[in-house]
Subunit: 339 residues, 4 copies
């Protein structure tokens, strides 16, 4: 049994963490915190979580007492409290972008913030960094788009058979967070498709960092907001390098199967099945499929994840399970909701 | 540990039963059956349920061997197999309308079918019939609209303070089942609201039967299809009888709280909170709230359920839990998904 | 040819007025005004209106020079400028609630505002008040819910055959206006149904005022927000008075046909057709249908309108056409968009 | 005044043609035909088109008498009737794929049909083929995806500055036509994103044919179904050839502006505006914008069209206007509907 606290629990990822952890058999939620909702019972903020005795508190880092602390705080806010949380001996799983970059300059350029902490986190994508995660004190939980993109491209980069990947991602609106804005106003996004930050989204360098670990691949990324609540569907258009043009769909499938062998949350689709959001809605599974090559030599791989689960809170719990030595599926062993 | 079989597992309620029962700690799924998909692995039909070894079979009733058999078969089909299923000693939970009516003539009139079986089922709404359910061999699981309507009106009927209830219900499209039709075609129901069977839906007599058990109340019901996947929001417009006009919202709240005291899946809202589908999406909870009375003496109570869970498969599992003597929340002890 | 100005043209009704008036053959748009967007070209605010030379101005009432001025300003703001607009000799069509009430006290009670003007407007529902509209200087354009409700109930009240009407309305989110809020945030209303102001919406007394002109009928109203962009579907549950219980659906249909005979924008449905939003999306038509009576004596009439057209801007243009002596369908003579 | 007939008027493109032509001041609709709905009044099939005296007929080609005949018939059906329609002296605008290909073998390969007619049509994309359209007897109206893709890529191909374009398209469900199927069933596509025919959609060779007219460019195309009723948003990822890498966004914008100078239905966006479906919903406008180049040298251009208007029926009317010598905007001179 481990005790956990969730800092910044009033947003969507904080709510999802709370909901999932309430069903985790090895976890006791000690604290949920929110500056805005101090002393508010949780169901007033998350009306689907009702009948618990959870109440938001606004504790200082030094007042928290938990084995694992999740920081679902905004970029910039996380780095202000994480040093203190590590100080009290907690292991920290951070859902912001603050500790995701190996190169601080990249962070500062893309986030427009001065980084104030020289602590290093472990990049919390279990499919790539499982061994480092086991002993980490600070996990930098990956970005939602990044998770979908990397999972679709990692086997290709590892096999060093492509030199360029274009990630065309379609995301549900919950990825924009809990705060209303013009772009999330129902009449503006209902029945609509809105590309944004077409060549300038800050998840781009994060994808580049991780896929560049394995081979020299150029990464492009464009997100589109679609009238969906949850989920990210990523269409990865890749180009085979000289010498690999003759690879077949079947061989690609084998590469993916082998790369992800034994992974508890990866589902490789075959027999013509294509990933879709409805197949993983609400679950921690990532579906990866397609592996088709067209007449021009373009290779397409498609991934589907739930942005709030595999793309955020579920992956954070997966990381916790690894750190704590639990079976990796503990508390996450359920299928998505369809229809 | 009980063994279960699901007959008619390829539809939405069958899929939902399977998904939920796979996470039920006291259940072993022995068989899922489908005539149409015989020998097909489950993920080809329910692409969210993947990695199990479940394969659809097309067994005869006499070939099934399970403690509990769920029949998620169409109206008319259930009564053809249920006598045989009872014969082999199974307890049966039927999700069709075949055994819901105390008066066979009402069934035959509204369903346009000749009833071929004189077996009686127990009406499986635990909040009203828990004691009978405990010893039942055959449960007639309530209709989805009926569940939402009854839960909103039962305390009023029991208190005998209203003489008329109008249920104006808004349902998600999954209630129409898995088969495509013009009315479920996305361009026809997206961005639309479609009333149907405005005064002739066959859930009307079922609501009337159950609410009429407690007092003399006239029931009207009109369903509307809305661009939602799951969920039924029922607005119950009721009229207080002479002698009860002076009841207050607070007194009504007390009646509801008292009537549903200890019920594991009923959430009574207060402090101005209003039920909404997002608060119970994917869960077995029913939310009931509002209790306001306007200047004309109209009383409004609102309920929200997930039509596939509390309105069908979750309620069926709740009934199973009662029959088997399990804790009633076993396998259903999770909150809904918001956002 | 008449010259028009639109005050408050940056919101949804202002944008819709502009879009429709640009296609009106007898109209020249002189001015569109907005305090917030002064000097901004229209396509920056309404990205679908592009290639015109319209630019928002922020003129004082006395600086405007137009035959007809539409005030698409908020409640409370309209009454501050309308006296001055009338002063300069313009005819004013106001889309706010400020001049809709015959009894100022009702307005002040429901809107929580002190009324500062003793000018009287003509209630701009052409199907009831056409003759007064012809010579009006100030039109109080009806509320969106009110339009759908009245049109469904007016023939019943006029025939004095019912004593109570319950309007259960389902509205698209554009009715909430252009400003984002928690209730219009896509993840909160997508896949959801949200009742609000269940017994306290300020359109209630407006419905009561108009339907009460013809007979003594008690009016109840409850709105529900549904995941739809445009449109209001109103389900009118009415109760026949003693002496009228034996009326048939056919006779009701005749009453509606006769009441609305010659009305250019009313479509009475028969032969089992039921109004739906998709049939009038983007048009000024109102569909009215159903006329069914159930076994308890409840009568159901259903209406469908586009809240931004028949429920606001289209109706305002209809009023202008009447005032100016144009053919009533001028500029509004097009069908809705389906799918 | 020209007389027109619409063959196959019961589908979505046929309905949209009818709706738009009813408002075309130079057109008289002589006939709407449908085998399935012979003798049915139009509002029974298109419930938004009401109050006309249009009734579906099932005439043989030789019985039709019209100046212009639109064939909104399925692939394969068009080529069976068009020779006869030309025989009676009508000009034909065909909305199927039957006459779109210069090379019959390409058609036969991708459509899996034997072509039975050696008549040649003119490819009806006015922005490229206006001069040929003027004198054509048979117009092959472009495919919906093709229209959005070509418009985004034509200036690049004409300028011969890219060697590869990847079109990642997101389409509304009306593109799938009026017939329900599992993929258009609301619970399956609501809240979902579904890629399909990822590398094998038959609009691919059509895009290749037209863009290949101007330079040597390799074309890839992948469509995605999104929960939208109307509209296609195409993200064109292109790669600049050697010698053109240094082109700037501003220069690209100039190329687009110059290429489309004077085009009545092309809107080139600048100042950071990005095309979105809501800006052109229901209109014949195409929006084109973005022109950004990322650090890897990928260039992104985005287009948005209404698949039923600019992508089908509106474009067909535009072609008719050119053939008949009308002002090109006649009957199409209206803005889209937002919200």
């Amino acid at each position: 049994m481990v005790s956990v606290a969730i800092v910044g629990a009033s947003g969507y990822t904080g709510g999802e963490l709370t909901r999932l952890l309430l069903n985790h058999p090895e976890v006791e939620i000690e604290d949920i915190s929110s500056r805005q909702f101090e002393e508010t019972p949780i169901h007033k903020v998350h009306p689907h979580i009702r009948g618990t005795d959870l109440v938001f508190k606004n504790k200082k880092p030094s007042e928290l007492d938990a084995d694992i602390i999740f920081t679902a705080t905004p970029h910039g806010a996380s780095m202000k409290i994480i040093p203190d949380l590590l100080e009290i001996g907690a292991k920290v799983i951070d859902l912001s972008g603050d500790y995701r970059f190996n190169d601080i300059e990249v962070y500062e350029k893309w986030y427009g913030l001065k980084h104030t902490s020289d602590i290093k986190g472990v990049y919390g994508l279990p499919e790539i960094h499982r061994e480092e995660i086991k002993n980490a004190n600070l996990i930098a939980n990956p970005g939602c788009f990044v998770t979908g993109a990397i999972l679709s491209g990692y086997p290709l980069s590892k096999a060093a058979i492509v030199d360029r990947m274009i990630f065309d991602s379609k995301t549900g609106v919950s990825g924009a967070g809990v705060n209303p804005s013009s772009s999330t106003h129902y009449p503006n996004i209902g029945d609509n498709v809105n590309p944004y930050k077409v060549t300038s989204h800050r998840h781009t360098p994060e994808i580049q960092q991780e896929l560049g670990l394995f081979s020299d691949v150029k990464v492009s990324f464009t997100p589109h907001l679609v009238p969906v609540i949850r989920g990210i569907l990523t269409t990865n258009h890749s180009f085979l390098i000289e010498g690999s043009e003759d690879i077949s769909s079947g061989e690609l499938l084998d590469i993916y199967k082998k790369t992800y062998e034994g992974e508890p949350f990866i589902q490789i689709l075959e027999d013509g099945e294509i990933p879709r959001l409805s197949s993983i809605r609400g679950s921690n599974y990532a579906q990866i499929g397609c592996f088709e090559i067209d007449e021009t030599g373009r290779l397409v791989v498609i991934s589907a994840i739930d942005n709030l689960v595999k793309g955020a809170s579920g992956q954070a719990i997966h990381n916790m399970n690894i750190i704590c030595g639990f079976d990796e599926k503990t508390g996450l062993n359920f299928f998505g909701m369809h229809p």
